[in-house]
Symmetry: C2
Subunit: 207 residues, 2 copies
Amino acid sequence: MRYRRIPDETVRRLPLYLRGLAYFAQRGESRVSSSSLAEFVGVNGCKIRKDISHFGVFGTPGVGYDVANLTRQVRKILKLTSARKAALVGVGNLGSALLAYPGFATYGFDIVAAFDSDRRKIGRTVNKVRIEDSAALGTLRRRRINLAIIAVPAGAAQDIAEGLVRAGVKGILNFSPCYLNVPRNVKVVAIDIATELARLPYYMPAG
Amino acid sequence: MRYRRIPDETVRRLPLYLRGLAYFAQRGESRVSSSSLAEFVGVNGCKIRKDISHFGVFGTPGVGYDVANLTRQVRKILKLTSARKAALVGVGNLGSALLAYPGFATYGFDIVAAFDSDRRKIGRTVNKVRIEDSAALGTLRRRRINLAIIAVPAGAAQDIAEGLVRAGVKGILNFSPCYLNVPRNVKVVAIDIATELARLPYYMPAG
DNA sequence: CTATGTGAATTTATTCACAGCA
DNA sequence: TGCTGTGAATAAATTCACATAG
């Protein structure tokens, strides 16, 4: 396993490959070629091979990749080898849907804490997770939760982000439609739903 | 207004600029410099200027950009000048949250139709939108809806996408965790929630 | 004197093309 | 012969640096 720096775009695609690998594994295939994986995930085969080559040599020429082994290696690179606990902040419509979202488990994520500032929600339970007061974000440190999902209104997001950083959170998935200013050692990945929809018309006919 | 091709990455950022512009407009600022917009949206100023220059020259050296005019121009480029109707397919947890999502309105989107294949949901109303049978996707053509949001389980997504394409849909926002195979003239933008979360640990300390 | 707009330089990402292994 | 892995070539995106306009 090689440890030179892996391009961001490659890191972005690796989880996709994991999903593809899971599909082939579940179908009982023990080997997969870059081209069949390519077809499944919608990325061209040569790009997949280049991506994989960034962290090592795992394929067999003329045959393909060993599904189980490649899965293991990709998971190691992405640091998805052990389960990760995550916290959710903001249990509105979107937050509630995220609490129930089955996709996170695929990658070993478990949302074990939820916070909201609305008195009426605090204390309630959604999907087996009890909603706590947002003022208690500080408890995340001793609970060893360093990953959080923000789904609060834009106006509240920066404050929440700062609270999370103070509590030792090192990775944030931000659904709030705003930029978060955080220290360099904290990574933010933003999913800006409306913004993604807003770029569709550009590619569509006038109507 | 210039009409040479605009880079994809620029198109991706334009909706962000719109949001920033709306912020400054609402604060009563009639002019904004690339650097102050930069600070708000988290993109460096020189990149913003380059992005804008791709479709024309709108700023005043020494002063900045006219907020109202730049807003108008960006909206025109993104084809967001008139309201757009959209359909939602899949009214589960995530779909319901999307129906209630206030952010779409910012860009003039209105979800006016919702579909699900679950008999128990069909006929019900969520957020003033009546849920129809997924088998009735074909009606979208005469209702002049050519934009759709998919939020169904992965296994059903390709079928739904094909139904949408048959109904004349030209743009799809896909929340289902899978690749969609569609004709070249249909644009798909994918939001793969778990996949985005899955790349966070790579950037985080081991824990 | 400030902030835009843009060629040039640089960096990053993608694709090509093929040597070499099973 | 089939498919990987990778240098080389190309393309795309970003950043620099500064001429230029108000």
